[in-house]
């Protein structure tokens, strides 16, 4: 019974992390970059949004600016990687570290920016989980529609091919470096947007928010795609699956808390989920691979 009472909260929180996972999906699945910037940019989104709202900036404008701040972080990572030749994973780590200082500076040196005590009009809050679910769901739907439209434009198609086959992309006249920067900007913009929603939902932004966010995002992607790819492997279904993955993750998370697991072990749990999803296909391929029958020589008749 307690579990069912906790369910709306788990779903609402899961949706917000599902939105973040969409951002991670763009870098990890489409661009083929494991972008660690997200641990910083999700926090940046929360800090920017919280500080702006508490200074009286309208909530919708604050959220848009949070998105732009995240996009800027993505651009920094992209430039470190493409213009300065730093490996992408290190570029992400470096930006993440920079963002820790930046985020502290944004919050005026304090580690928490809280909405508590003020009468701010927020988009969503954990005090009303049902409406929080609707707001988060609406924003996710809008984001998926925008991304779906974008990835079927000429520019969007080149972004897909950049991650899928950079050699082919360059041969077809695509500026692979520019595309990586654009992709990372969109990715981190969405992550920061999720951060802005998360801060409102919780009622505060904390400098330590977002630690391990990339792992949660990856867990949501793996859980979601393991289901959605079986249904229909297309872009929109994949994104919906990723959001669903975020929700499932948070339901499991809440369930485990209810079982009485010490909350300090939860990051271990997140990491283990990701390890399992990455390791299972590898182990299957490496240790349990059935030998294929010897192919007939002479090539396919239709080749």
């Amino acid at each position: 019974m307690v579990f069912f009472n906790a369910l709306p909260g788990a779903v609402a929180e899961g949706l917000i992390w599902g939105l973040m996972a969409i951002g991670v999906y763009i870098s990890y699945k489409i661009l083929d970059i494991a972008d660690l910037t997200v641990d910083g940019s999700i926090c940046t989104g929360g800090c920017v949004c919280a500080i702006l709202i508490t200074r009286g900036v309208p909530v919708y404008l604050s959220v848009i600016i949070a998105f732009l701040a995240g996009a800027l972080a993505g651009i920094v990572t992209g430039l470190l990687h493409t213009a300065l030749g730093i490996p992408s994973i290190l570029a992400g780590i470096l930006t993440q570290l920079m963002l820790y200082s930046v985020n502290l500076a944004i919050m005026g040196g304090r580690s928490i920016a809280s909405f508590v005590g003020g009468n701010y009009s927020l988009m969503l809050s954990m005090r009303d989980n049902i409406s929080a679910m609707l707001v988060a769901g609406g924003i996710i739907a809008a984001a998926i529609i925008c991304l779906w439209l974008f990835f079927y434009t000429e520019v969007g198609l080149t972004l897909k091919s950049t991650g899928d086959n950079p050699d082919m992309s360059r041969a077809q006249g695509i500026n692979v470096k520019l595309n990586k920067v654009i992709g990372l900007a969109i990715s981190n913009g969405i992550v920061a947007l999720a951060g802005a929603l998360y801060a409102q939902y919780k009622g505060s932004a904390n400098i330590n928010d977002g630690r391990g966010a990339i792992v949660v995002g990856l867990a949501a992607i793996f859980i979601g795609l393991s289901v959605s790819l079986k249904i229909k492997p297309n872009f929109v279904v994949s994104l919906i699956g990723v959001v669903g993955g975020g929700v499932i993750y948070y339901i499991i998370y809440n369930f485990v808390i209810l079982l009485g697991l010490n909350t300090s072990y939860l990051k271990m749990l997140s990491a283990i989920i990701v390890v399992i999803f990455l390791a299972v296909p590898y182990i299957k391929g490496e240790y349990f691979k059935k030998q294929k029958p010897i192919p007939e020589t002479g090539g396919d008749a239709d080749a």
């Binding site: 198609l157 080149t158 050699d167 082919m168 992309s169 077809q172 006249g173 002479g298 090539g299 080749a303």
Partner: protein, 265 residues
């Protein structure tokens, strides 16, 4: 059309692994030339094609395509002049994208992409017709992921992509070497058809002496980063494999060494 002067390239300069791949190579192609390129192991054939494509910048020398100096132009910018097919059939197409999407990207090479809908209304129909000319049954699989296709099918699609917008110069880097003989013959047949129909200026590396003689109007043989033999016209038409090996031995003073060539003689 293509004018290369004094092209030099050394990989890993100043180290024990230093390898001079091109030693002051000069080459001029005329409009409509279909040139086959052969040469021994490490003769610099692929290095030459990569230099033209802009994969890296040469140490010395100049490359002009259609009067434009492209020596310092980045790879993606000079792509507007070039159609390229790689040796590895996996390299020329995006596996996780549909056949139609791959073609759609290729149709916009050198045109500049904008934030407008990826496909024009009748574009898919055009691709269907184009694919049917390959006679591989791909016209009914427009929305299939390219990764599901065989190497030969992917290479045929890469050829279409390379020629969809008429390139100033078509670069084929042993594009049939990774295919089985039957498929290789089919891809070569498609190549010849596309080149002659569009009157494309073409550089085709091959390890098969027979193909090198059978196709194209001009044949060059490379050796140690330079062009050793350059035959065209009637002389090329009447060339035989023993002639070619004789020419090589006379010009280089050594025996022709390319394991792949010797095996396929």
């Amino acid at each position: 059309m293509l004018k290369i002067t004094g092209l030099q390239k050394t990989f890993n300069p100043g180290t024990i692994n230093a390898k001079t791949a091109l030693r002051g190579l000069d080459l001029t192609l005329n409009d409509g030339d279909f040139v086959t390129v052969i040469g021994g192991n490490g003769a610099g054939k692929s290095t030459l094609l990569n230099a033209i494509a802009g994969v890296w910048k040469p140490d010395y020398g100049k490359i002009e395509i259609d009067g434009v100096d492209v020596t310092k132009m980045p790879e993606h910018k000079r792509a507007r002049f070039l159609g390229r097919v790689f040796q590895d059939p996996m390299k020329g197409t995006a596996p996780d994208m549909e056949i139609a999407e791959n073609l759609c990207i290729a149709a916009r090479r050198g045109v500049g992409r904008r934030l407008r809908w990826g496909f024009r209304p009748n574009e898919r129909q055009q691709y269907r017709e184009l694919l049917s000319t390959l006679e591989l049954g791909l016209e009914s699989r427009l929305s299939a992921k390219v990764g599901l296709l065989s190497g030969g099918q992917r290479q045929a699609i890469t050829l279409l992509m390379a020629t969809l917008r008429r390139p100033k110069l078509l670069l084929l880097d042993e594009h049939t070497a990774a295919l089985d003989p039957k498929t290789a013959a089919k891809v070569l047949e498609i190549t010849d058809k596309l080149v002659s129909e569009n009157n494309l200026t073409t550089l085709m590396i091959t390890h098969n002496m027979h193909d090198a003689i059978a196709y194209g109007n001009r044949l060059i043989m490379m050796h140690e980063g330079k062009i050793l033999i350059d035959v065209s016209g009637e002389e090329k038409k009447n060339l035989t494999i023993p002639d070619l090996l004789g020419l090589f031995e006379k010009a280089s003073g050594s025996e022709f060494a390319n394991d792949k060539v010797i095996l396929s003689k």
